[in-house]
């Protein structure tokens, strides 16, 4: 693999926060580190910057080894050429916006520092505010100063630690657009830490799902949302329809795997890796559940039909989220009643036309191609999270 400009990370430690993370990030790529609080996201960024030093790790960036505990190599943060935007920005409170940026330009010739700092502040839309101190700037403006300061180092990697968490919603959306614009001019790997999945999906090329310091899955936002590696990932990315089943048949010629779920046999796209009799988790995106029209039945209804009672019907603008308590022949298991509830989303006008409301009976089809099977193991092991 070409190492030019690329960032490679392998970290392992037990305390204070357990880590077992491995990932890489290409130049120009935005990789989002996502996971619940305490999953080690910020710690990983601090390790890349050289502020924390795990006992067993290797960090390589743009062909330079920054940390290799086996070979006893450890470069100081000063010599790593990292741009880091801290969660609360960590601006120098006694310096102006310009001073903050100039402070990170020590590697450039003295004569060009100020003009370079002014250009950077202008590139983050802060021209005219150079002489304000951090307390005299709004949250969004402070974040921009922090961004300009991080870029001032001409870093080989840009690290963003929850850079949008401390600003209001309107400012946040403005800053999203600015980052999306800015990143097109940036040629270094960008690692974004966020607990907000929508933010990660919107800004990142790939997501890395972390749980207790462990990388569970790396993939595009779409991959992770539609094909989570296991039930734990599915839960961490807040998928609604995650259930348990048992593989009953493998029909390779027909390209089908049959999974039994609470007495209902579902046809699923062929998944050869699961032997007959294996306990699996399965998930279906809310968009993969198709409501049956009550007035005019159609052919599609033969695909994994389920029927049940509407137990939830929430209008959210143009869409309505419907919870369907599916009639199952097998009694409710350890998962409790919520586990038999399938969530689907329909346009609000469709919900109205079909008279959907709590207490009404309805049918739906689970599209075979949208059903994704996953190993069951992880969901049990970390269930208490």
């Amino acid at each position: 693999m070409a190492a030019e400009g690329r960032l490679f990370i392998r970290l392992a430690q037990r305390a204070p926060i357990p880590l077992a993370a491995t990932f890489d990030c290409a130049p120009g790529e935005v990789l989002a580190l996502t996971g619940p609080s305490g999953s080690g996201k910020s710690t990983i960024l601090r390790c890349i910057a050289g502020l924390d030093r795990p006992p067993d790790a290797r960090i390589e960036c743009a062909g330079e080894v920054w940390l290799d505990t086996q070979r006893r190599i450890g470069i100081s943060p000063q010599r790593r050429s990292v741009g880091l935007v801290f969660q609360q920005y960590a601006l120098f409170p006694h310096m102006s916006a310009l001073g903050n940026v100039v402070a990170a330009l020590g590697h450039r010739a003295r004569a060009e520092r100020e003009s370079r700092a002014r250009a950077l502040l202008a590139s983050v839309h802060l021209a005219g505010l150079e002489h304000r101190r951090p307390v005299e700037l709004s949250g969004g403006q402070q974040q921009r100063v922090a961004m300009a300061r991080a870029l001032a180092r001409d870093p080989k990697v840009l690290l963003l630690d929850e850079p949008f968490a401390a600003v209001d919603r309107v400012t946040r959306h403005k800053l999203y657009r600015e980052l999306a614009e800015l990143r097109r001019q940036l040629a270094m790997p960008i690692v974004l830490v966020t607990h907000d999945l929508d933010e990660a999906a919107m800004l990142a090329d790939r997501m890395c799902i972390l749980h207790r310091g462990r990388t569970l899955q790396i993939g595009t936002p779409h991959e992770i949302r539609t094909r989570p590696a296991d039930a734990l990932v599915a839960r961490l990315v807040d998928l609604r329809n995650v259930f348990e089943g048992v593989v009953r048949a493998q029909d390779a010629p027909a390209g089908r795997t049959r999974v039994e779920w609470r007495g209902i046999v579902l046809e699923v796209a062929h998944a050869a890796q699961f032997a007959v009799g294996t306990r699996v988790a399965w998930t279906i995106p809310v968009g993969g559940v198709v409501l049956h029209r009550r007035d005019r039945p159609s052919r599609g209804e033969r695909e994994n039909p389920v029927a049940g009672m509407v137990v939830e019907c929430v209008e959210l603008g143009d869409d309505t989220t419907v919870g369907l308590a599916v009639d199952t022949t097998v009694g409710l298991g350890v998962d409790g009643p919520a586990a038999a509830q399938i969530t689907l989303r329909v346009p609000t006008h469709v919900a109205r036309r079909n008279g959907l409301a709590v207490g009404v009976r309805a049918g739906a089809s689970l599209l075979a191609i949208a059903i994704h099977l996953m190993p069951w193991r992880d969901s049990g092991r970390d269930a208490q999270a």
């Binding site: 502020l51 801290f86 960590a90 601006l91 409170p93 990170a104 020590g106 101190r133």
Partner: protein
Amino acid sequence: MMEWQALALSLKLAGWTVALLLPAALAIARVLAWKRFAGRRLVEAALAMPLVLPPTVLGYYLLSAFGANSALGRAFVAVVGHPLAFSFAGLLVASLIFNLPFAIQPMQRAFEAIPADVRPAAACCGMSPWRIFAEIELPLAWPGVLSAMVLTFAHTLGEFGVVLMVGGNIPGETRTIAIAIYDRVQAFDTRSAGLMAAVLLALSLAAIAVAYSTSRRAEPAGGG
């Protein structure tokens, strides 16, 4: 009559105390503010002892430590040629120890008040540890450092108990202005005592005024 020699000695003692204590206290205050190590609380408690210990008690132990029966006392005589006790050097050592909490505590609070990520941010900006100290830490902690220096200076000017115990009352060597005031009162020379007391009062007021005005001015910028 004003004893200029005593005042000069007091100022000299206070000046040397501040000059020697400043770097040491800066180093200790930074460690206490940011490093977590076993026995940190114990060290903090030990450094705060001079605040609660009666000056005569501290002076008594220092006198014992300086005496010819102690290793320190003998070593000092061997090197310098005269005993540590009842000398300006002995007075200075006592003053340094006695002022530890006055110098360290305001600096420690000031360093602790620097937002946690600011120093790592400076390192990520490529600033060397020395530049971080000079351009980030010191300016941000400056009000605390200044008030520590002022407190130490003022406190040394007025110190009486410890000075009397380890220094005695040798004009030009250990007779500070506080001792001189006491001496004049004993001799019923209230006019001289009153004059020198007024000078000391004015100096102390000026010191407090400086300390308060700088800390007040620094407050609005303290956040961020």
